[in-house]
Symmetry: C2
Subunit: 217 residues, 2 copies
């Protein structure tokens, strides 16, 4: 294990497409920091479940938002925690080859495994909630009414230590077989991106658009 990389375990060591995998902290953190939706999976009644939710990275922790009423969060509140896998995926393009077989997707993803624990310390919970708000809109947490005690009690956040974590990605162009290059099909890459539209103020809003909303991309 180098200081710039996460340690690899059996389940973070790729068995296929090794050139697409990375354990580098910089790569993993970059993907985590440019997204805010994750898919959280856990086992309920012996079967796998995966749900979308929001997350934030704070140093070596992932904070994942839930509800105090939801089953996984209740389990994570117990001392033993909850075994989870959290995956963050960003799609960058459709790769259209001349052969169906070489069609692919340009993407960046992070998969983190571990035991999640519910955040119960009020100070840590406050930090986590600010980070959850700022993950999607940097600077937003300074421009809201923060949660009061009653709201904090209704909010559940779990913490996952980033430890067993890896990144995968594919980038670049089409990789068709030599024998297919002359086929009369269109081949190339169609870029895919997630973009923000023009902010739509609520009727209650009396202030101009804040700077932190002007350049979301």
């Amino acid at each position: 294990m180098s200081e710039t990389a996460y340690a690899q375990t059996d389940r973070t060591t790729p068995t296929r497409n090794r050139e697409r995998a990375s354990a580098e902290r910089e790569v993993i953190h970059s993907i985590l920091d440019s997204n805010w939706i994750c898919h959280l999976s856990f086992i309920a009644d012996g079967a796998p479940v995966v749900l979308p939710t929001i997350y934030a990275r704070v140093g070596g922790y992932l904070y994942v938002h839930g509800s105090t009423g939801s089953r996984p969060l209740r389990a994570a509140g117990a001392d033993e925690g909850l075994a989870v896998c959290v995956t963050v995926t960003q799609v960058d393009g459709l790769v259209l080859a001349k052969s169906a077989f070489h069609h692919s997707v340009n993407f960046r993803s992070v998969v983190a495994h571990g035991i999640a624990h519910q955040v119960t310390d009020p100070e840590e919970l406050a930090v986590a909630l600010d980070a959850l708000v700022d993950q999607s809109v940097a600077g937003r947490s300074a421009d809201v009414r923060r949660a009061n005690a009653k709201e904090l009690a209704m909010t559940a956040v779990v913490r996952l230590v980033l430890d067993e974590v890896s990144a995968k990605s594919r980038e670049g162009g089409v990789r068709d077989d030599e024998a297919d290059l002359g086929l009369p099909h269109w081949a190339g890459v169609v870029p895919v991106a997630t973009v923000h539209g023009t902010p739509e103020p609520d009727p209650s809003t009396t202030v101009p658009l804040p700077a932190y909303l002007r350049d979301l991309g």
Copy 2:
């Protein structure tokens, strides 16, 4: 169970935010048909795993793409199949309330539970592969060299019958507490969308941009 809705089970019956849930076929199929990336979860060595991949809906089936080298697909090739949960999520907007507590996300998602089986019949596999190509770019499967026998043997697709499946969504504006409406914070919705950029042809491409690529949105 109505003919227009999927039957509900314990795990597809919402315990919270019931107004955001739907078992209607039309709603579920509409979400599935306007996306092509899913998150596939399963249990490996007793722990949950969730990975991004592509899928296609064909009638009452979901076909999910994998690799013959990957562990979940090998398990799904066995007679007993593989317990999975497949989730498709589309983000439509950031809901920025005056209180941190009422921040939310506009989204549409589908969660499907069941036992996945590897597709082994060559005719079904051919249909599934065409559907996988067409799910992201309608019409594309007619403009490629289809997979040959060797490639088919290297491709794994699992079938999940849409049976235990439900949708969730949130739409609309901010729902702040009355007491917060006068606060001097910006509140409103920031639309979020996934868009396609200008197709970038591979140097081997000698044909003009096909009609099916001109209006991807």
